[in-house]
Amino acid sequence: MKPNLATLPKPRLAVEFAGLKLKNPLMPASGTFGYGQEFAPYLDLNQLGAIVTKGLSLNPKAGNPTPRIAETVSGMLNAIGLQNVGVDAFIREKMPFLEQFDSPVIVNFFGNTQEEYGEVAARLNDVPGVAALEMNISCPNVKHGGIVFGTDPKAAFDVITMVRKRLSKPLIVKLTPNVTDIRITAKAAEDAGADAISLINTLTGMSVDVRTRKPRIANVIGGLSGPGIRPVAVRMTHQVVQTVKIPVIGIGGIMRAEDALEFLIVGARAVQVGTANFVDPNALQTILTDLESFCVEQGVEDINDLIGTLEL
């Protein structure tokens, strides 16, 4: 006989890491939740473990030409090109809205040079209501032939070190999966002073319209996200958890509570939900409810008792 779930005590879902206190381990992934406001009609932002913003750069960025998105089998390609309002407009126009909520606000940012990274971090450092920064290192380093910072451990170490110097708030470094050995970049991030690591960003991919013989997105190559990539994300999260001492946030293809649990079980302290928000703007709410039910059903009183319990 199944226990009557309603009468059992609610499980504790709060998690803590890098000085952040989250009501639960669920947050949106950057770039899939706008600046929070877009989702306010659909869910209560106070229910989220944290709010993660679209990636910000020093100056406003126009992004790529269209088409920018294409559906693939159980996934999607995007090449939005990091369109954003720029850090100053964000602070001025978007933060007042986000400050209303008691969920911590994590601001995602990027740059195309070390200096840009440093400068954006410095400007966000003094903004009240910003709980932590998430640094996207999947960007080309325009001063070094456009090699993506996150694919070169030395460049990653240097740029993170530079940001660390200008930032006193907690720093989460978000890794790109397009590398031979994710443990090396993770270690570089830890050594450079990151407080936490989040992964994965999108896998680079491409798709062709076989009738027009054109790439299905204008930028030719885009980032692959969605449930099809989850096994790669779980594998990398597992590897990174085994490698670094700092906390890890799992991202990649989470659509349901059971998907989030895969990451928690391999040792992620929290997870981010990306593409699922597009499929259903209530996704985070549904995952939260189901996560709670799962804990009750499995007799998990505190979600922390479940984190890192992979049986090998």
Binding site: T32, G34, P41, Y42, K61, A62, N78, Q83, T275, P281
Partner: protein, 292 residues
Amino acid sequence: MRSEEKKHKMKNLQTIVLSNQEISPGYFRMRILAPGYKGTAHPGQFVMFRVRRSLPPLLRRPFGIFQIGSLPADCEGMPEKEFIELIYKVVGSGTEVMRELHHGDRIELLGPLGRGFEIDDVAGDKILVGGGIGLVPLYMLADSLADRSRTRLLIGGRSREDIITVTEFERLGVTSHVTTEDGSLGEEGLITRILERKLDKYPKAKVYSCGPMPMLRAVEAICSARKVALQVSLEALMACGVGACLGCVVKGREHSEQNPDYLCTCRQGPVFHSHELDWDRLEKSAEQGKSS
């Protein structure tokens, strides 16, 4: 008056298909149980449609709302059954799955979404120009106009199969003019020829249009040459429908690299005043998105 964002929490509506019929080869009309749409959805708004959880396609597909209505309740004392109707053309993987849906199948709807048509004088001369499936959002628009005897529907398509639901417009009191490229129904040729004729006659008419990009481009050229007010409903590839993914953007009139002025089709549109858009760059990027 434009549709306002609702203040209460919007939910993804989990509902069922009431009927799904092929009304012309490749064109389907689907009626969906949709409590809450009546009185809240505005002409030109759309829904994001999803077949049952866990089935492909992954992303929802956007469809204009053709019509809103209600059926008598199943039994006394129960509320009447509100529904919406979509009309869709089967073009790819998503619509292939949709065509197989039957009465009672579970689906999900997000909406009503976006900005619909702005109607400042409900009684003046109106010309509605639709191309093929582009006629969908024009029906609720026509229905919302006060003096429909002053409303003309111009509808063009490749062939007679592409001309749908015209009699329903006529039942509203609207006069319709049909062209087909192969001459199989109405006049042979493009609908823009009729538009010019009508504007000669009603030079103060307001124009509302929805259809393929080359048609919209031609309609815009005609209207801007004559300084006639034009609103267009655009299509774009969409992932979220709520302004978050930035996949559906079009360039605004003031757009430049330094001062990006992108507009989300899903949120600032799908209906735009033609002067809000950068028509030179619109056509190019839209064509990249379409397969032949």
